[in-house]
Symmetry: C2
Subunit: 225 residues, 2 copies
């Protein structure tokens, strides 16, 4: 079975489209981030809190991926920003061509921050460049501190780790220091934030991170918050 060369060809084609998307984001000054985690780590909830905190005048858009259902787009649309669901119908990750297709009638010149919420999967999405400026991995405290060592690829490729659901720390056997140490073993330069969407802890730091990252992408645009 000639699988590896075919995977290389698929990834090569993906990389070509991703490079073209990256060039378009650069031209329009759009910061594109790609959120990746296990199912249920809190990507959609973090996005709800993010959209809720941003002034409606901000030029933010979301593409949210799932295998089935439009649930996440429904949850996110109520904040008034453009949100589009990408339903993969079985595919375990988003790829660059899906992004290109779903951006077709959006003008990137009108978008300062484009957030992509990937399919819930800590493995496969790490292989697919979507042209994003940064991958961001979420890990909830209920999942265990060993995950960076078990799933190193996504932790190695992500600029930022957001440790979510810290409000549950009193009730779960999660060693926060060990989790952070494991992440740094895989990716020494990784930035790490601790967030509880329920209590609001760390949301300010998260919004500041996004703003700082966006300024780096397009220093002349208006501040997000």
């Amino acid at each position: 079975m000639n699988r590896v060369p075919l995977e290389k060809k698929i990834l090569g084609e993906n990389d070509r489209i991703a490079a073209s998307l990256r060039e378009r984001y650069r031209e329009s000054g759009t910061l594109c981030v790609n959120l990746i985690s296990s199912p249920g780590s809190g990507k959609t909830t973090l996005l709800e809190k993010t959209l809720d905190a941003l002034p409606r005048t901000q030029r933010v858009a979301v593409l949210t991926g799932d295998i089935q259902t439009e649930n996440d787009a429904t949850r996110l649309k109520r904040f008034g920003f453009p949100v589009r669901q990408i339903t993969t119908g079985g595919t375990c990750h988003l790829d660059a061509s899906m992004i290109e297709r779903h951006l077709a009638d959006w003008s990137l010149n009108d978008i300062d921050l484009l957030v992509i919420e990937n399919v819930g999967n800590l493995v496969c999405p790490s292989s697919y460049d979507l042209g994003e400026a940064a991958k961001i991995v979420l890990l909830s405290v209920t999942e265990g501190e060993d995950k960076p060592l078990k799933y190193p690829s996504i932790f190695f490729k992500s600029e930022l780790l957001v440790i979510t659901k810290t409000d549950l720390l009193p009730y779960v056997p999660f060693n926060l220091a060990a989790a952070e140490e494991n992440a740094k073993r895989v990716h020494p330069g990784m930035e790490i934030l601790r967030v509880s969407c329920t209590k609001g802890d760390g949301l300010h730091e998260w919004l500041s991170w996004l703003e700082r990252r966006r300024q780096a992408q397009a220093p002349e645009t208006q501040a997000l918050v």
Copy 2:
């Protein structure tokens, strides 16, 4: 890109090996179950509780899959049963050839219950038959009640849903009835158990389910517990 025919070929080859494994399990009267869930849903912890509860005289063996690390095998070996780690090195699921290879020097005639713990991934493992008698999907209450609708394939193909970490119900916005209803929408005949490994709730029902299922596979062998 000619991806679909190649995937069919790979899955066809996998199915051929899985069928041969299934025949071997049948001949030896071995019950093989395949545990699948997101990372951090508690597969290894459930197995720890299971092995701890079983008499050492029982003929139970475990194959545990991960992308990297031997952590889970280390955790499980201390109960005295044969345990072998399958490290996939990047692959997002176990396939039948990995099982065949790792069983090579084990005699199935000496194993009444073979538990396979798949790679933590709610998507890809559902496509790979390992010759098991039953797939079992775990869903922790921290992941959200919408998961059966978002990841229908694995819920459709699993005989049993184990809802884990029920001790965390007071602290998370998880609607147990809705989760079970969503699972039944995808798979009307699905059996469902609720388990807290921390408190011990539901473990007796889980062990009884395994025993009942094993009796169905090989009615003449000695009871597990």
